[in-house]
Symmetry: C2
Subunit: 115 residues, 2 copies
């Protein structure tokens, strides 16, 4: 597949995902990519960045998953949410199946279990 076909196929997949979650009553959400506190998973390395505002440097991180931002929204009262967002993981191996930047689908629903 060339890049044009990849873009077209990707949009078909995303449209199907969006239709599914909409039918199931999930709200699509957006949460920040560059944050003060990344995930706490011991086996993942967040990408660290140093930014400056008005001469003050501050350390930030790119999210390894949207989990923390989405759980804040659950705490604010949303009950069924989903997101397809860009995430970043440092020190991943080099292979045709790994990229430091990739898209992650994440969804949450209050009050359900696996059964």
């Amino acid at each position: 597949m060339n890049r044009v076909d990849i873009q077209k196929t990707r949009q078909k997949a995303i449209a199907a995902l969006r239709a599914f979650f909409q039918k199931e009553g999930f709200l699509e959400v957006e949460t920040p990519i560059m944050v003060n506190y990344p995930g706490m998973e011991p086996n993942l390395d967040p990408v660290k960045v140093v930014v400056q505002q008005e001469g003050e440097p501050s350390e930030k991180f790119l999210i390894t998953s949207p989990e923390y931002g989405m759980k804040k929204l659950l705490a604010e009262g949303l009950e069924k949410i989903w997101q397809l967002n860009s995430v970043f993981r440092d020190r991943e191996e080099k292979s045709p199946f790994h990229n430091l930047e990739f898209k992650m689908l994440e969804y949450y629903q209050l009050g359900i279990n696996y059964h």
Copy 2:
């Protein structure tokens, strides 16, 4: 507005944008956020990151706009494209109207002018 209302309002705005561009025959696209070569605008500071793969450090940048990635897609043959993506600009001033990370709407159409 609280965070819940912000998320709901944001989704209404995005759905309206998506419907508009779809009606006009534009393909929604996705291009990378972390790149080897950022924009060349002399008045913008890209956020620099250093990542590692298999012990090799490399310097990357977060996009200041999706322009370069989208123009590559025009060169590949797509003629009407749009994207709403996260962009990053270092050394922005601190104000209620500035954030180092924000969403940018960008669209391209071959062969038209302003008239």
